[in-house]
């Protein structure tokens, strides 16, 4: 009876060892793509302390579903030759195989990150902008020459009371020698220094203070295109 029990226990231990050895043998993951047989030969040459070594690495890859066409690698050097052939693959599995030895941890490649995936909905498309009008006004807006009415400075720009005052008190200007600056006499007025007032330096500092306090710039110039028009 004891011999029978010992025999049974020894058989069970053998079966466990054989299963463990099979589990540690290999894990194969194969794809179902078909590829023609491919033979890659890589030659190498190294030089170290112990001497030089040269040889080649020959790799044969097939995508056939035949069980016998599995990748095999042969490394031949000047001193030794190592041939490695993986186990036969099942007929239904592809020949391109990844062999994972037992005890090796292989992490899958992180091809897509989900850490910064935006949780908000995308922006709505903007409304199309209207084209900016950067061209000069059309010629059609200019009145034709025949319909052009010259501006009468005395009647169109001065009120009746102003005209009456000009006639009544114009003698003051003539007595004092005051004359109106004509449009063609504005060369001096067009000088940049004329925009600075009596003290351009003080005006510059005042402008600096104004810009600092109001956080704005501009609006203190003179409008016009420089034509001297009234």
């Amino acid at each position: 009876m004891n011999k029978v029990l010992m025999l049974v226990s020894s058989l069970m231990s053998l079966s466990i060892l054989s299963q463990a050895s099979v589990f540690a043998a290999s894990i194969e993951l194969e794809l179902t793509q078909a590829k023609p047989a491919k033979k890659i030969v890589k030659r190498f040459s190294t030089k170290g302390r112990s001497g030089e070594a040269a040889g080649s690495i020959t790799t044969t890859e097939t995508a056939s579903t035949e069980p016998s066409t599995v990748p095999s690698t042969t490394i031949s050097t000047s001193t030794s030759t190592i041939t490695s052939t993986t186990a036969k693959a099942p007929p239904s599995k592809p020949a391109i195989a990844t062999k994972v030895n037992a005890g090796t941890v292989v992490k899958p490649l992180l091809t897509k990150s989900t850490l910064n995936t935006p949780s908000v909905s995308p922006l709505a498309p903007f409304a199309p902008l209207t084209a900016l009008n950067t061209t000069t006004p059309s010629i059609s807006t200019i009145s034709p020459l025949g319909a052009f009415a010259p501006l009468n400075a005395d009647t169109d720009t001065v009120s009746p009371i102003g005209r009456w005052l000009n006639k009544g008190f114009g003698w003051i200007n003539s007595t004092l020698g005051v004359k109106e600056v004509k449009p063609w006499q504005k060369a001096t007025l067009a000088e940049p220094v004329m925009a600075g007032g009596v003290a351009p330096t003080l005006a510059k500092f005042a402008t600096k203070v104004f810009i600092s306090k109001e956080a704005t710039l501009g609006g203190n110039g003179v409008a016009g295109g420089g034509c001297g028009c009234k």
Binding site: P137, I142, P150, P183, W184, C227
Partner: protein
């Protein structure tokens, strides 16, 4: 009553009648000005007043200069009037612009004082010393405007 009459008389004496009237469309050039400008009576003369400080003139003058080349064979004459008071400034400005049509220096401002334009630049259409039309101020596309004006004046271009 007598005091009021005296005051009125004084005001009437000192009141200055406005200066010589500006030349407008339909007016005839004064003989002295016509002699000074010496315009061709067989052509429509485009008399353009400009100055170095006039920004609009800086923009328009190259267009007018180019138009003078285009209308070289047309019965049109281009005459520029430079009205800068400083002769040195005027000479420098003319050298800078390199105009190809005739330019009259009016540093004494007698010519423009007779025309009295209300703005700069001022463009006058003149034939037989008679003003046919006037353009004042900055005008975009002045070359096309001049061509349209000349067509309107009966010139076949």
């Amino acid at each position: 009553m007598r005091q009021f009459a005296v005051i009125t008389l004084l005001i009437a004496c000192f009141t200055t009648i406005s200066a010589a009237q500006a030349l407008n469309r339909g007016d005839q050039l004064p003989p002295a000005i016509a002699k000074q400008l010496a315009l061709d009576p067989n052509k429509i003369s485009l008399v353009d007043f400009f100055a170095s400080w006039c920004v609009s003139c800086l923009i328009e003058l190259p267009e007018i200069n180019k138009l003078s080349h285009q209308l070289a064979n047309a019965p049109v004459e281009f005459v520029g009037i430079e009205v800068d008071e400083d002769p040195v400034v005027a000479a420098e400005f003319l050298a800078k612009m390199a105009l190809d049509f005739r330019v009259v220096g009016d540093q004494s401002q007698q010519v423009i004082g007779a025309f009295e334009p209300i703005g700069m630049p001022a463009l006058y259409y003149i034939k037989n010393n008679t003003i046919l039309g006037v353009r004042y101020g900055a005008i975009p596309h002045i070359d096309q405007v001049i061509i349209n004006d000349l067509k309107q004046l009966g010139l076949a271009l």
